[in-house]
């Protein structure tokens, strides 16, 4: 089964008459597809068009093998017939209904009651389903919003920055819940966020939108590597949390087969997490270094050397590409060239967990 097959263009006229044009072209499969990008890139416009609240000028939208919009055949299903679940930024729960009533409003089928209760239990809302939205925390409201969206038995789920109003710990818990729901719901998810760390944690597939166009799409790790790095050329990557060494005070993480040590994390082993490594943090050596205080020594080959401001940015394939800032004189003295074998020294504290 295919996920979202989208190919359309849509112009939104704003009040200051500077039109915004979105050229959306993407194709996804099952699992979670994350759409990320800076604000104003067209992320919400994309979701609203798929949902049916905005109409593209031309093109086609199909979700789970069903055509929802096709300008050439005059197909444009109304929102209510698209069978898409939607979770908004702050839930948009109905304030005059309690949690259970919110879910029942959506529930379909003969076993509506059972379905609603099962979903509320699944999102962890079983014990407070009689509370009204104003009596719930932001995280609790989003849990109910997940249950409500799934109760309508949608063919796909759209999520528009669902964690943006939550604090860090609530985000982490809800992200775990979302990954769990993905497995059980068996429908494609399209998750919009401007938070790259959140994107990397959730994405089976990552799509970067920029100025109304798809800038990159593919496996989350690949897209990240293709970006090179963040705006400050800090390295961002996904890693598996392998094991904790509580007595030694560090945690072992694995990035594409390479083990690294970082400061002790309060996370369960076996999960994925997003890490950042500032490009100024690693030390670069051309010969195997002796014993140092750095917990990590990673070997790799230089893939590129580019001037960047007053410094030089060296990308080392480790095999995960890592950007390292050095001075021009270091490049000259160490005779750094593309293809040269080098060693990176990385302190455990330089690896920061973002999720």
């Amino acid at each position: 089964m295919s996920g979202f097959v989208v190919d359309f263009s849509l112009t939104r006229r704003s009040t200051d008459s500077t039109g915004f044009r979105l050229e959306a072209r993407l194709e996804t499969h099952e699992g979670i597809t994350v759409v990320s990008g800076p604000s104003g890139a067209g992320k919400s416009t994309l979701l609203l068009a798929i949902l049916g609240a905005l109409r593209p000028e031309r093109g086609r939208i199909a979700v789970a093998d069903r055509t929802l919009f096709d300008s050439t055949n005059g197909i444009d299903l109304p929102v209510r017939d698209r069978r898409l679940g939607m979770v908004f930024q702050e839930g948009a729960l109905f304030p005059h209904m309690n949690a259970l009533q919110n879910v029942l409003f959506a529930a379909r089928g003969d076993d509506r009651q059972a379905l609603a209760h099962r979903l509320l239990d699944q999102v962890g809302a079983g014990s407070w389903h009689e509370r009204y939205p104003r009596e719930l925390s932001g995280g609790q409201r989003q849990r109910v919003a997940f249950a409500r969206a799934l109760a309508a038995r949608p063919r796909a789920l759209l999520l528009d920055e669902p964690f943006s109003a939550l604090d860090r710990s609530a985000r982490a818990r809800l992200a775990d819940l979302l990954l769990e729901l993905r497995g059980e719901a068996g429908i494609p998810f399209l998750h919009v966020t401007h938070d790259l760390a959140e994107a990397l944690q959730l994405a089976d597939r990552l799509i970067l939108l920029d100025a109304g166009r798809v800038a990159a799409a593919g496996d989350a790790g690949d897209v990240l590597a293709a970006m090179g790095s963040g705006p400050a050329h800090d390295n961002l990557f996904l890693a598996d949390v392998a094991r904790h060494h509580a007595d030694a005070g560090y945690t072992e993480i694995v990035v594409r087969g390479v083990s690294l040590y970082c400061g002790l994390l309060e996370r369960e082993c076996g999960g994925r997490a997003v890490f950042s490594l500032g490009s100024r943090e690693p030390l670069l050596a051309v010969a195997p270094p002796g014993p140092t205080s750095a917990r990590n020594v990673v070997e790799g080959t230089i893939r590129s050397i580019e001037a960047h401001g007053s410094g030089v940015l060296v990308v080392v394939e480790t095999p995960h590409p890592l950007s390292v800032s050095v001075t021009p004189s270091a490049v000259a003295e160490l005779d750094l060239t593309v293809g040269r074998h080098v060693y990176l020294l990385i302190k455990a504290a330089a690896l920061r967990c973002l999720t």
Binding site: L51, A53, P78, V79, R80, D81, R82, R83, L84, G85, M86, F88, A92, F94, P95, H96, F105, A106, R108, Y132, R148, A149, A151, A152, P154
Partner: protein, 217 residues
């Protein structure tokens, strides 16, 4: 003099308010959420009684509904029913002058609803009727209640259009405001005071009652 006028005013205002609330809520929804040609024009027509002097509204109602009126004549020929100087005339006059207040209140209340909630309801498979009754009306209930109070107050205080269309027949079309006017004309200051106090009390009670209704969830 006070009792028949009070009874008449209450029945007229209550029935008029029911009509006004139903119709005004529907038009308010249409104006707030509908996207159709002529929306601005419809808005202007509906607001007309608000800007016209009530006597002018009353005059137009006579032209329209009088025994020789545009609608009144065929109605009389067909059914023998004549609107002017009747209880129905009082109700019609009250409905027409109070209607714009309800439309305005309902429109404002519906426009204040978070559009995402209506979108969420639609995405959950609900049609416009269900969204209107189960989401929009409950969410707008405070604004609607306020509109109902205003409409009731306007209806029970209606004077000009009622005088023109329904006349001032004691015991039949003489509502409280008309009775107050007559009492003053006759020099009966005491009756005018009593009737005014009664009208004040009724208006306050109505406001308190409907606001309490709106506060329930």
């Amino acid at each position: 003099m006070a009792w028949p006028a009070l009874k008449l005013s209450l029945s007229v205002a209550l029935v008029a308010t029911v009509f006004v609330v139903l119709s005004g809520t529907a038009f308010g929804w249409l104006l707030a959420r509908g996207r159709f040609r002529g929306r601005e024009f419809l808005d202007s027509v509906l607001m007309l009684p608000l800007v016209l002097p009530p006597t002018v509204t009353g005059y137009y109602l006579i032209v329209l509904l009088g025994r020789r009126g545009l609608l009144g004549a065929p109605l009389h020929d067909l059914t023998g029913w004549s609107i002017p100087f009747s209880w129905s005339a009082c109700v019609i006059a009250a409905v027409v002058v109070a209607h714009p207040l309800m439309v305005r209140a309902a429109r404002g209340a519906f426009e204040a609803i978070d559009a995402r909630q209506l979108l969420a309801a639609a995405s959950l498979g609900h049609g416009s009727g269900s969204i209107f009754l189960r989401i929009a009306v409950p969410l707008a209930r405070r604004g609607l209640a306020a509109g109902a109070v205003l409409s009731f107050a306007r209806a029970i205080g209606e004077f000009g259009a009622t005088l023109l269309l329904a006349g001032n027949i004691a015991g039949r079309t003489q509502t409280l405001p008309l009775a107050i006017y007559e009492a003053l004309q006759m020099g009966d200051d005491r009756a005018a005071l009593v009737l005014s106090l009664v009208l004040t009390a009724v208006s306050l009670a109505a406001m308190a009652g409907i606001f309490r209704l709106g506060r329930k969830r």
